[in-house]
Amino acid sequence: MLSTKTPNSVKQRSNGDRVAVLKSTEKRSDQWSELLIAVGENRDRQAFAKLFRHFGPLLKGFAHASRNEGWFPGLGDDLVQEVMIKVWQKAAGYNAEKASATTWIYTVARNCRIDMLRRKSNTQHLPLENEDFWHEPDEETPISLLQQKRSEDKVQESLAQLPKEQDEILRKVYLEGKSHAEASAELGLPLGTVKSRVRLALQKMQIIVSAEAQE
């Protein structure tokens, strides 16, 4: 049998602590995060309806932007339903220290979209869903909410200023759901060029400091 003995120590944190931390530092000011917390903590239906009105149309747009194998006309409405149901179900696990509501919903939508497309284009049984790859226990966040927010602002601000050639690749990857190899084929660029544009964009957004920072 494949047995080994590595104990898995998982730090747990109660809901109460999370609220305390939120109050002690700068609060997430955006209304979506507050609404999501209300859904998680109080099963607040009005808050959920507001989230739905805001994110539903964006999620449908996100579904229609996808250019993957397996795309089908009803994908938009199906994705909206599946994502929003997951939002309702998982809202209690939302950790505002780690991500804004929009980022959290993005990750739910990304996983749902991939899994729906894979189910459509694959007849084989898939033992793993994309969600499984993101299945990490909720640990201490080593960076503070303030740092998180600065980084979100930086991403938002610098994304708007990226040269078109870099922006185009990020959109292909995140919105259309293309791999770097697919983007390189579509744009008629060598893969190395696509990757170096990606790295330049990440440096501008200060997601990576320099190529050497990873070593």
């Binding site: 239906r45 409405d77 997951k86 696990g93 793993l128 998180q148 980084s151 990440l202």
Partner: protein
């Protein structure tokens, strides 16, 4: 778990993971690495912010009221598939492996026992529903030498337990390695205990003949 890892997936690979465009087998390996590496986890939180920003700029599309009603109806029916809960499932994860690896061990092993690959290496293969890579666990016994081999395909390796070394470095828990076709190496298990690695090995390039039939070259691997 936050041990210090020294070998990481490169940032373009993390981005593909963040966008969900990385293929299944390398995604399993990246996910396994993240289990050990808080540095990459942080970077990923930031990469997700790109997706988030682009989602919020997506062209909104009108939704029929019935969609909202349908969602509320499903929520109220109480007939929803259970969402997985990271905390309870981690607590039940006695192997201490990263989540997707534990799930594969539990449900998707090709055979329930280790298979001898060479004198000091055992292998346990997984079915992962894709054809490009063979995904498997390798166990190198303490001090075990593996045969010198070169790589016909691409190989991703993540150390899950123990350590091993080759001519260049020592690789410890969480380290993520990429071997490109043509790389030659001879890994050796550490003296002080067995080493378990997750690996995804791609098939050598598949050739098609002019009639379009897929000609399988001599495969040394078994993608499942």
């Amino acid at each position: 778990m936050n041990t210090t890892t020294h070998f990481h997936p490169d940032e373009t690979m993390l981005m593909e993971f963040s966008a969900g465009t990385l293929a299944t087998a390398p995604s399993i390996c990246v996910s396994a690495h993240l289990h050990f590496c808080s540095q990459c986890k942080n970077q990923l939180l930031r990469l997700n912010q790109i997706g988030s920003q682009l989602l919020s700029e997506a062209q909104p599309m009108a939704i029929d009221d019935s969609t909202f009603d349908a969602v509320m109806e499903k929520i109220d029916s109480g007939d929803l598939p259970a969402v997985s809960n990271a905390r309870t499932e981690s607590a039940n994860n006695s192997l201490g492996f990263p989540y997707p690896v534990s799930k594969l061990v539990k449900n998707s092993l090709v055979s329930q026992t280790w298979k001898r690959l060479s004198g000091s290496v055992d292998i346990a293969r997984f079915k992962t529903g894709q054809q490009e890579f063979e995904v498997a666990l390798h166990k190198i016994c303490a001090g075990g030498k593996t045969p010198k081999h070169d790589h016909q395909g691409l190989e991703y390796t993540v150390v899950l337990k123990g350590s091993f070394s080759d001519e260049n470095a020592v690789y410890r828990e969480g380290d993520f390695l990429v071997r490109k076709p043509g790389d030659v190496h001879q890994p050796m298990g550490a003296q002080n205990g067995e080493c378990i690695c997750l690996s995804a090995l791609s098939a050598p390039i598949k050739l098609t003949n002019p009639l379009g039939f897929l000609m399988k070259p001599w495969l040394r691997i078994n993608p499942m």
